[in-house]
Subunit: 355 residues, 2 copies
């Protein structure tokens, strides 16, 4: 167990832990006691037909969803819906390399797949709430991977799906991109094969990791227009793009656990719904019965709308709804009112659709 | 002096060396004996009005221009034009950290700017050929930076200009991108502060450097469509995208000198014609009198057409001519006949324009 203040309620806000007991993983490993960190908003109705599931993205937690996407008057309105945000396995809050003891700590943490998350979320929902069907599954980036996995693996349990800024089958480009992110960390001698004593010993690697994010996570237009001048954070300011990069992007990743990022990176690289259909993408996406809005972000540098459109065309009851954000993939953080309004408009319309 | 087979005539084809003697650099350093490696194609006419200058791009040499862009029947036709391709300072053929002795070898190599290259090229052209005016200056990427620098610094000496896939003022995005490339090298312990004994000691860093190039130098569409299946190289094959990445992109950069890449990277980061006009981009580009075709590549991930269009709009006698290449920035290597045809069509039209 390694102390890391980032993964505490003081930083992340309130959340619960639910133990699933021993959990066998698709790659053959086993987590002796898998604990999922989750947060709920609103109340489950008697018919249990108002439940929405939100899986989290790479490096993310439930906190961003709580702060940016959920609230009264929003599409994800807790006065109407029961919203369950589940932190993905290995994200630093759910069972992860740095917060577990013994046989699977740190470098011994097993490989986890998107399918493991989806099965674990299903178990959690059944055990805690008796939920057998989601009114909506919605997630961004790796959350979109999990959303697709849900809709393909358990089609009858997903009435509506909204994968935002992500794909059902990871692309070669994204595989290579993720490799650069992971190599930035593992090339730091301080990483020490995964056996560092504090994430601060891997600061150089985390910094390089953050610098690669700056180039692909944000967009050329974000940097060209100096959009960062309008980005605000408590107690921090910047007057140059170098300062923004250091005080916002680097600072964000420097707080995180390197092995958590690597666990998620490995998982991201291998997100692929065609594992259910012997590599046949059309067959896999053809299994989806959910009403689906595929929602890429227009300026996304590594989940470009056309990559998402190819998949959307293979989903029966689907539409492509491109979201506007000059921040590119990091538009997910909700810098822009126009982006959030468009998310809400689309999710609202999707939720109002009878299925 | 370090041996590196990549920087020999056996690999690069024939070239000449011209010594400029002692050369003072804009950053304050000095190269005691600056040798520029250059190659010429065709013959200078008596009026000396058929000369074309081609400066080279990051990691590139004259060889690519010879093999891909120059030839009878092409726009750069050596039966009509006298074409001078000059390898940029620090590219491994011209004076560079690994091929010089004494006070400026390796980690002691001074910082070089785009303006140094342009002044050195001017001196070479005057001393060797008595050329006082170019019918055309054309270059890709960092070659475009040098093209812009020429047209702004010496407007009366450049009749036509064709910056391909590059900018006059480097963008914040490209500054950060270049930093990731450089950090991939300098984070390798084998780099040893620039004092390695062989470039092979920096293989890990060069490999990571190549992996970042794969993500931004090529395009999402290149990877999505599997365009690499049609790329051919002598004596090498690949059947997966990982193999292509290893045997083509990694192999390309693994042959190069790390300090050469760092010298060019530092220079690229600071390419900026507004050094002549106190930071005023409109004033700098307003100095250009050359007939100018600004030629970005449509799928370029880090010199996107709109970044180039902003600059083109500030150049009096200019047009935006977007080139098609699914390979993105690496479209410069000329994988596609359609790209090469469009380059030739534009350069041919530009060269036929009376100025």
């Amino acid at each position: 167990m390694i102390e890391n203040a980032f993964y505490t309620p003081e930083v992340q806000g309130a959340y619960q832990l639910h133990s699933l007991g021993g959990f066998d993983l698709e790659e053959g490993g086993r987590i002796p006691d898998l604990r999922l960190a989750y947060a709920t908003y609103g109340e489950l109705n008697a018919a249990k037909d108002n439940a929405i599931l939100v899986p989290t993205w790479f490096s993310g937690t439930h906190a961003t969803w709580e702060q940016v996407y959920i609230g009264p008057g929003r599409a994800l309105d807790p006065t109407r819906w029961f919203i369950v945000v589940v932190n993905q396995i290995g994200n630093g809050l759910s069972t992860s390399p740095h917060n577990t003891d013994g046989g699977i700590a740190m470098s011994r943490f097993p490989q986890v797949r998107i399918g493991d998350d989806v099965r674990a979320q299903q178990q959690l929902a059944a055990e805690l709430f008796g939920i057998e069907r989601w009114a909506l599954v919605v997630g961004g980036s790796m959350g979109a991977q999990q959303t697709y996995e849900w809709a393909v693996r358990f089609p009858e349990q997903v009435l509506r799906a909204a994968p935002i800024a992500g794909t059902a089958q990871n692309t070669p480009h994204d595989f290579l991109f993720t490799r650069t992110l992971m190599d930035a960390i593992t090339s730091d001698p301080g990483w020490n094969g995964g056996e560092y004593r504090s994430h601060t010993e891997v600061a150089d690697g985390l910094r390089r990791h953050a610098d690669i994010w700056a180039v692909l996570g944000l967009s050329t237009e974000f940097w060209r227009t100096g959009f960062w001048r309008g980005v605000e954070l408590p107690d921090v300011t910047w007057s140059t793009f170098e300062e923004f990069q250091e005080r916002f992007v680097q600072a964000t990743f420097l707080a995180m656990d390197p092995n958590a990022l690597l666990t998620m990176g490995w998982k991201w690289q291998r997100g692929d719904v065609t594992r259910h259909t012997d590599g046949d993408l059309a067959a896999a996406l053809g299994r989806i019965t959910a009403r689906t809005f595929v929602m890429p972000i227009d300026e996304d540098m590594f989940f470009p709308p056309r990559d998402c459109a190819v998949e959307q065309a293979l989903i029966k009851d689907s539409e492509l709804r491109v979201l506007p954000s000059i921040a590119g993939h990091f538009g997910l953080f909700g810098f822009e009112p126009a982006y959030l309004a468009e998310v809400d408009r689309n999710l609202g319309e999707l939720l109002d659709t009878e299925v």
